[in-house]
């Protein structure tokens, strides 16, 4: 009994002495904030912030080399808790955003100019004449955006258009960068009315290529409040301020302008259907 106590104590003494020395030799100045911040970050390591992972971002935030709201995925709540850790006031960033596809030309509404046979990837398809859609601006429908989404928020519809689930989308920007046609943009979820076309072609050409493209008829410009919609190179573009009222959607003869509910209170069945697709 006594021997045991003595032996263990001695061993512990030696070991702890050694470890203390080592600990001093290896003292890595770890800012406790880094750990705390990392805990507050989503931990998906998605790279949406442009850094290799959440721990790297945490380090940078702690060192003051990145903003408290640098995580695009975490949004306001994460930014708020990080600012609390850092002891700085958080001004409250922009509104929560989601990605949206600015094209409504699916297999039924948009025409194709050839039969594409190749790599099932939009960027690869775009190498051949920019893609098989007759509309040079339209969605190619091969799902590259769905493939790069780290959150499973993008699904391809049966008619070959990506459908983004705003409740899963974290606005990480990956799909925006991946789309070779550059038709995915981040929009505030609060905005309801969207002009779902990216074609700068003239009206006659658009009509030939797609039954839901913007033909630049300017009806929406007249209907909407002053400054809400502007015609830019044959395409109606929403300026964001002021908001476009729902009524504008009704005047669009091509059904290009639509009311899209991006609220998080999306109907349960839609979210469920999206999740189902993600799992299978």
């Amino acid at each position: 009994m006594v021997a045991a106590i003595i032996a263990l104590s001695a061993l512990a003494l030696v070991a702890s002495f050694g470890l203390a020395m080592v600990a001093r030799a290896f003292a890595v100045p770890v800012d406790p904030k880094v750990e705390e911040i990392e805990g507050a970050l989503p931990g998906a390591n998605c790279g949406g912030c442009g850094l290799p992972g959440c721990s790297e971002l945490a380090r940078r935030i702690a060192e003051g080399r990145a903003d408290v709201d640098a995580c695009p995925v975490g949004g306001e709540s994460v930014a708020r808790s990080i600012s609390r850790i850092m002891g700085v006031a958080f001004a409250g960033g922009g509104a929560r955003k989601t990605a949206l596809v600015f094209c409504a030309g699916d297999d039924e509404t948009a025409r194709r100019r050839f039969y594409y046979n190749g790599v099932k990837d939009c960027a690869s398809a775009a190498l051949l004449f920019g893609g098989d859609k007759l509309c040079g601006y339209g969605c190619l429908g091969l799902g590259t955006c769905a493939g790069v989404c780290p959150f499973g928020a993008i699904e391809m519809s049966a008619l070959g258009l990506p459908v983004i689930d705003p409740s899963k989308c974290t606005a990480c920007n990956k799909c925006v960068l991946a789309c070779p046609k550059k038709i995915i943009k981040l929009v505030p979820v609060s905005r309801r009315v969207h002009i779902l076309c990216s074609s700068h072609d003239k009206g006659a050409k658009v009509r030939k290529a797609c039954s839901v493209g913007c033909i630049a008829c300017t009806k929406c410009v007249k209907e909407a409040p002053e400054g809400a919609i502007a015609m830019q190179d044959n395409l109606a573009v929403a300026s964001g301020v002021p908001e476009i009222p729902d009524s504008v959607a009704a005047v669009c003869p091509m059904n290009t302008i639509r009311v899209v509910d991006l609220g998080i209170s999306a109907p349960a069945d839609a979210a469920g259907a999206a999740a189902e697709g993600a799992a299978s």
């Binding site: 790599v119 690869s124 190498l127 051949l128 004449f129």
Partner: protein, 440 residues
């Protein structure tokens, strides 16, 4: 390694009989000509005409931008109807000038006159060739005068006339060699003179005996050698051709001039003859219109800017089951979606395949059979490359030398999984180049 061949390669069905026996026919002027500006590798020339202008044949319509660029000339006399975007056979929609011929086909003043070129020096020859808008007519469309201006530290000692025409179906070079051997050889002699090269080799695949027979006396008259090469694709690819003829290996990432060789297509030689001796800028070329999707396959002398539709119509039109229009040969050419695509300086052929003949890529998983490894003339590992490219791991494709791929298509040709290998590689190359550009 025995001379006359190289590593890898495939033996596709050549189908050269379709148009091989047909002499070159001169095609009448079509109702309109669509002349794209981008007809050479490097910078596209800048237009100097506008809508409504009248032009004469051979008149400058676009001027070169920088050294790696060549001027563009009106293919016939007529009126500029429009300048707009058209499908271009390289696989993109690009700006082009539309000329409506007036039917007179008048040359611009000073052109189309015989000249005694014997006293032209090397620099003058290069100037003439550049002003005539010459590019490599085998398909790559690299400006010829640039090739003729090697840096001082890389002297050229061998000039190779590439008459291999290893692409299946195509017979344009074949017919040109059979019918105009003397002109080709003379054109080559101007190149040889500009470079100061004595050793000139005419390389022809063995499946063109009449071309070899025609070229031999013409070449030997000037002391040039004619070499009959094994029939294996891609015998006409520069690196493979150089290795087969001289045993020299062009270094990876290097150019033929790194080993002292210059390769010129026989069509280019003919164009050089026209430019130097007749003072004619490049406004027409021999195009092989062939394939089972065309009623009467032919070799036609067509103006630059002739649309594929017009060329095919001259050859009897499309057959019912035509499914794929290819600008160039079936191994490396570009599939066209529209008959509005025009013949350019680099268009050696228009191949129309039936739906049944055209490959249907499936993109099944690679089963690692290794056939592509054996076929790859660059000794790459297409199997691994395509798997990495498929998973968008482009850094790994770079590490496995995807940039050395010559896109000859041998790997995809033999792939039992029908993987669109070349498509993968083109994507990977594009991504790597994008990344390199960003890094700079």
């Amino acid at each position: 390694m025995k001379s006359g061949t190289f590593f890898g390669g495939v033996h596709p069905r050549y189908e050269k009989d379709l148009a091989g026996g047909r002499p070159i026919e001169t095609m009448p002027l079509p109702a309109r000509l669509v002349v794209p500006f981008a007809q050479n590798l490097g910078a596209a020339p800048k237009p100097v005409v506008k809508k409504g202008d009248e032009v004469k044949r051979g008149q400058l319509i676009a001027e070169p931008q920088g050294f790696v660029s060549v001027p563009l000339h009106a293919p016939t006399s007529g009126v500029v109807q429009a300048i707009d975007v058209f499908p271009h056979p390289v696989g993109a929609d690009l700006p082009a000038v539309v000329i409506v011929p007036d039917g007179k086909d008048e040359w611009a003043p000073g052109l189309n006159v015989e000249r005694d070129a014997g006293d032209l020096g090397a620099d003058a020859l290069r100037g003439v060739i550049r002003d005539a808008g010459l590019v490599g007519m085998g398909g790559a469309a690299f400006p010829t005068h640039v090739k003729l201006s090697p840096p001082k530290d890389k002297p050229i000692d061998v000039l190779v006339l590439n008459g291999a025409e290893c692409e299946p179906y195509l017979t344009a070079d074949h017919r040109l060699m059979a019918e105009r051997p003397a002109e080709i050889v003379e054109g080559a002699s101007w190149f040889a003179k500009a470079l100061g090269v004595e050793n000139v080799i005419v390389a022809v695949e063995k499946n063109k005996p009449d071309a070899i027979a025609a070229m031999r006396p013409a070449a030997e008259a000037r002391g040039y050698a004619v070499r009959a090469l094994d029939v294996v694709y891609p015998q006409g690819a520069e690196r493979q051709l150089i290795f087969a003829l001289t045993g020299r290996r062009v270094p990876a990432g290097g150019l033929p001039m790194d080993v002292g060789v210059l390769v010129q297509n026989v069509g280019t030689c003919y164009a050089a003859f026209e430019a130097v001796r007749r003072n004619r800028p490049l406004t027409e070329r021999v195009v092989c219109v062939t394939g089972r999707g065309v009623a009467n396959p032919k070799n036609v002398l067509a103006r630059i800017g002739t649309t594929f539709g017009d060329a095919i119509a001259f050859c009897g039109g499309l057959r019912e089951d035509a499914g794929k229009i290819i600008g160039g040969g079936p191994m490396m050419g570009v599939a066209q979606y529209s008959l509005d695509a025009p013949v350019t300086k680099g268009t050696s052929g228009i191949v129309v395949l039936t739906r049944r003949e055209a490959v249907q890529y499936a993109g099944d998983p690679c089963i690692r059979c290794g056939r592509c490894l054996r076929a790859c003339p660059m000794l790459l590992n297409p199997s691994v490359l395509s798997v990495y490219a498929e998973r968008l791991r482009f850094d790994e494709t770079a590490a496995h030398h995807v940039l050395d791929c010559i896109e000859c298509g041998c790997c995809a040709y033999v792939c039992p999984s029908r993987r669109p290998m070349v498509h993968h590689f083109r994507r990977a190359k594009a991504e790597i180049r994008k990344k390199q550009a960003r890094a700079v």
